[in-house]
Amino acid sequence: MLGVSLFLFSSDTATHYSTLAERNMQANGSGFTWNLVANVQEMFTYAFMRNAFEAGTVVALVAGLVGYFVVLRGLSFAGHSLSHTGFAGATGAILLDMRAIYGMLTFTIGSALIMGLLGKRLHGRDVITGIVLAWTLGLGVLFLSLYTGYATEAYAVLFGEILGISVNDVQTTLVMGGVILLAMAIIYRPLLFASLDEEIAEARGVPTQALSIVFMLILALAVSAATQVVGVLMIFALLITPAAIAERLTTRPKLAILYSVVLSMLFTWSGLAISYYFPYPVSFFITSFAFFTYALVRGVPYIQHTVFSRRRKDMGAKAIAADLSTANL
């Protein structure tokens, strides 16, 4: 998949990023200074940065919130496959000369509905999901090959190109974000209940089946929005990683959601800010920040544990040695 897309886009991407870098160079009056406030002010004089930050913030907020429930409900693979079916929708839309986001929304919402309705009835669901998404990826490649125009849009769908987002897409993202936030605010409590123990929630009158479907639809919206920032292939970075980190930091759901959102925003903002000065893809920076933070959160307790247990072992050995030396054998 990667090979094919690189082959298709290699020449385009080189020019793409060099133009972006040039744009940055021209745009950068003074370059990076240690006066962070001035840097930010300078960044925001450019519409493309403002648009990127607007859309990026909304996406990060939504991805952090929805991501918590994705991890809780074990829907990581479902989220990932939704983004892949979205790819077919996006490339199909480009082929039909429509906005990519509409095609993506159609396909992701459709798949989400099907997945939600089939629900628990499919045992070994990941197998069927994998089979279907492999086919939708194939469809996407077909649409790509049929498209004779400028293929950067398809590249953007795959890898994310938030710096090139149009004002229209920013507005669409704001609307999607608003819908998601409203829906999550309404279903938060019963969704949490059903996610933790479906049987009890059902007995208490929670419509668990309907909630599953509604959440899948929310996920479809969140995935479509997040694709604009990190692309179809790197959805995990915003949807899963921040929530996974948050889960390791606290056991209280509300706090975990807060951490997840804050982390998601930090990764996005840092990625955007750094890419202003360095001509490399934003999604690379975002995924890197996410990955290294996760590694840190997992690594530190492990190191602490090993170091302390080694010290304890050493102390134990020393104590035994001391006893042996004082005892008159």
């Binding site: 409590r189 019963p190 007995a203 208490r204 929670v206």
Partner: protein, 296 residues
């Protein structure tokens, strides 16, 4: 005529009158039956699981529901919860038809191990028993403080204070069971339904949980209906036993229902019931549909 038949006749004679009384009762003069069923039957997939079930459960009783696997014990609970309709007969719970989401009924389902990665703490898990079924999200008002206090009281009542803040997925089976009980208690139910709460617990934990449920229910005046495979840990606390087997549902005291005579009649095969010096029951003669563990 056996004691069982005599008491059955007595019950049948009393019942219509009792039911009329129940229906006429407006105030608190006559204690209302918590569950009253007449000629009840349940069907699943076209097959009748059990039929002609007639029983009345009074307030404050501790009922143990026993019977072989697949007899329909859990089905009875699901019907009481309004998750399953009855195909025949009448049933009333606290004077109303069974409905889903009846907040006067607390439910502790059959424990399957919670996902070990579940990182939500027990306290928040328990709190959901209070308002988890309501829409929206809890706002940080003063009422939230009162709710948290009630949750703490429930957690203390079940003895889960020391591990209430640890992630639920990392707790042992018995500890999770206590939290599930606290969650059910938080809704202040009048009727508590438990589906095999003692399953896969070691013997000591079985006795501990059985005593805990009985004590907590007695303190709060809650009626308990508990499904179990082995009646022995529950014998000291059980008022009456509901025996579900071979499509029939019988109710009575344990020494009336679980007798050689009665079980032989029920299973249509020679069954022997023995009791040891402590009153514990041993059942011999059931093959692979054995309903009691032979306790050492």
């Amino acid at each position: 005529m056996t004691a069982l038949h005599r008491s059955q006749e007595r019950r049948q004679a009393q019942e219509p009158a009792a039911e009329v009384e129940v229906m006429l009762d407006e105030g608190n003069n006559v204690p209302q039956a918590v569950v009253s069923a007449r000629d009840l039957a349940v069907e699943l997939g076209g097959r009748t699981i059990w039929h002609s079930a007639t029983f009345t459960i009074e307030a404050g009783e501790f009922i143990t529901i026993v019977g072989p696997n697949g007899a329909g014990k859990s089905t009875l609970l699901r019907m009481l919860l309004g998750l399953l309709p009855n195909s025949r007969g009448q049933i009333q719970i606290l004077g109303r038809q069974p409905q889903r989401g009846n907040s006067s009924i607390g439910y502790v389902p059959q424990r399957r191990t919670l996902d070990p990665d579940l990182s939500v703490c027990g306290r928040d898990f328990v709190l959901l028993g209070l308002d988890g079924h309501k829409w929206g999200f809890p706002l940080p008002f003063v009422s939230r403080r009162i709710q948290k206090q009630r949750a703490q009281d429930a957690i203390d009542a079940v003895g889960a204070t020391t591990y209430a803040d640890r992630p639920v997925g990392k707790l042992s089976g018995g500890e999770q069971q206590r939290l599930l009980l606290a969650q059910a208690l938080l809704g202040q139910p009048k009727l508590l339904l438990l589906d095999e709460p003692l399953a896969s617990l070691d013997l000591k934990s079985q006795h501990t949980i059985a005593q805990l449920v009985a004590q907590v229910a007695h303190e709060r005046g809650i009626t308990v209906m508990l499904v179990a495979h082995d009646v022995n840990p529950l014998l000291p606390f059980t008022n009456r036993v509901v025996y579900v087997a071979r499509g029939q549902v019988e109710i009575g005291k344990s020494d009336e229902i679980i007798t050689s005579e009665n079980l032989s009649r029920l299973y249509d095969t020679p069954i022997e019931v023995a009791r040891d010096s402590q009153g514990r029951i041993l059942v011999f003669g059931l093959d692979n549909s054995i309903s009691y563990a032979i306790n050492a």
